[in-house]
């Protein structure tokens, strides 16, 4: 018997070559029992959105250290929604100034996890948010 697992796409949009944090998060979520589709660096929002749809993930985690998050994060969310991923939970990470967070939330990024966030906090957020929805988009 196979069981439903939480599937998470981890991606880095844009021209940012620092993927250590994304890899640490990927391994942390793996250790929490989630399935991570790790697609790595230098992707366009279009590529990330398309991968999220084909992989039918529950969560997309995007990470940006380049300062281009205000352009890349909202674009990624809107493309995911456009392509039919209405229920996909999108979270962000990286060096995001506090003042940008409300705007990102408004654009559909459910939560921002800055440097130093314990993995447990991310796991808890994902599990609670998906749990609250009752996972009604999944079987």
């Amino acid at each position: 018997m196979r069981h439903k697992k939480i599937r998470v796409l981890i991606a880095k949009p844009g021209l940012d070559g620092h993927d250590r944090g994304a890899k640490v998060v990927a391994q942390g979520l793996r250790d929490a029992g989630m399935e991570i589709i790790y697609v790595g660096l230098r992707l366009t929002p279009e590529q990330i959105a398309e991968a999220a749809i084909q992989e039918d993930v529950d969560v997309v985690g995007i990470d940006c250290l380049s300062g281009a998050h205000m352009a890349l994060f909202p674009k990624t969310v809107s493309l995911i929604r456009e392509k039919g991923g209405e229920n996909i939970l999108v979270v962000g990470g990286g060096t995001i100034p506090k003042k940008d967070i409300p705007k990102l939330r408004e654009a559909g990024i459910a939560q921002i996890f800055g440097p130093g966030t314990p993995i447990e906090e991310i796991v808890k957020f994902i599990e609670t948010t998906l749990g609250k929805r009752g996972n009604d988009n999944q079987d």
């Binding site: 196979r2 990927a26 793996r30 991570i36 790790y38």
Partner: protein, 249 residues
């Protein structure tokens, strides 16, 4: 009786919607009770796809080879579905599925669909999920379906049963002549690719494979092809070998 949602997914998939196909694959992965009925309903839409299994030890370059092979297949006008299987952790049950990262040139190609899948600890269950996903990709109209799996063992033997052609990817350093003589994937593979052929020991591995494979006693025709996937070398030959087998089907 299928629910309205599942019927909608089937119709969406047949109309070419990728999110519908993706959600049907999730039903297959999670062994939904609706699955037999879905597969039955899609039966009239199936039967055109050619399925290629690609297996071999980790780190052999399978994903890169699939990336380059997909580019060649696309240049001939065929559409492609890819199922990339990676292992689940025996400790946490989680997984990091990292095959897709080699294939990002194809993400926006309308005629390429890539799906990553974790083994979830069960050979039997995985085989069933992969077999159903092959059927779904076939029904969605993909011409060529590539299934990538790690390692050797029962999973690979079940891939052998569902694939029209099984490709085994080895690299220099695989082992000596005795490893090559051991029973298993080398016996059942239709095409053996020696990838990273610019590495030391490639020629020796090819020679040892040749010595083992011939004379062939059971009329099972096996080919050996050398490639350097990362440099795009040998991909044309691999495509030709697959195409010849496809035409003979």
């Amino acid at each position: 009786m299928l629910t309205e949602r599942v019927t909608k997914l089937i119709n969406g998939m047949l109309a070419g919607q990728k999110n519908s196909l993706a959600q049907l694959i999730s039903l297959a992965e999670n062994d939904s009770p609706d699955l037999p009925e879905i597969i039955k309903m899609l039966h009239p839409h199936r039967g055109k796809a050619y399925c290629v299994g690609i297996t071999g030890p980790p780190g052999g370059g399978k994903s890169t080879l699939i990336d380059r092979l997909t580019a060649t297949i696309r240049s001939k006008g065929w559409s492609v579905g890819i199922i990339a299987v990676d292992p689940s952790s025996p400790i946490s049950g989680g997984a990091v599925l990292g095959d897709r990262i080699r294939m990002n040139q194809h993400y926006l190609d309308e005629d390429v669909f890539i799906r990553s899948m974790a083994t979830r600890g069960s050979h039997g269950g995985l085989s069933k999920a992969v077999a159903s996903t092959v059927k779904l990709l076939d029904a969605s109209g993909k011409d060529i379906i590539i299934v990538e799996t790690v390692g050797v063992g029962q999973t690979e033997l079940s891939i052998k049963q569902m694939a029209d052609t099984l490709v085994l990817v080895l690299v220099p350093g695989y082992g000596d002549a005795l490893q090559v003589m051991k029973a298993g994937s080398i016996e059942v593979a239709d095409i053996i690719v020696v990838n990273k052929a610019d590495y030391q020991g490639a020629e020796r591995l090819v020679n040892e494979l040749r010595a083992t494979l011939t004379p062939n006693r059971r009329g099972h025709e096996q080919s050996i092809i050398t490639t350097q996937a990362i440099n795009g070398i040998g991909i044309g030959e691999l495509y030709q070998a697959l195409d010849q087998r496809r035409k003979k089907r």
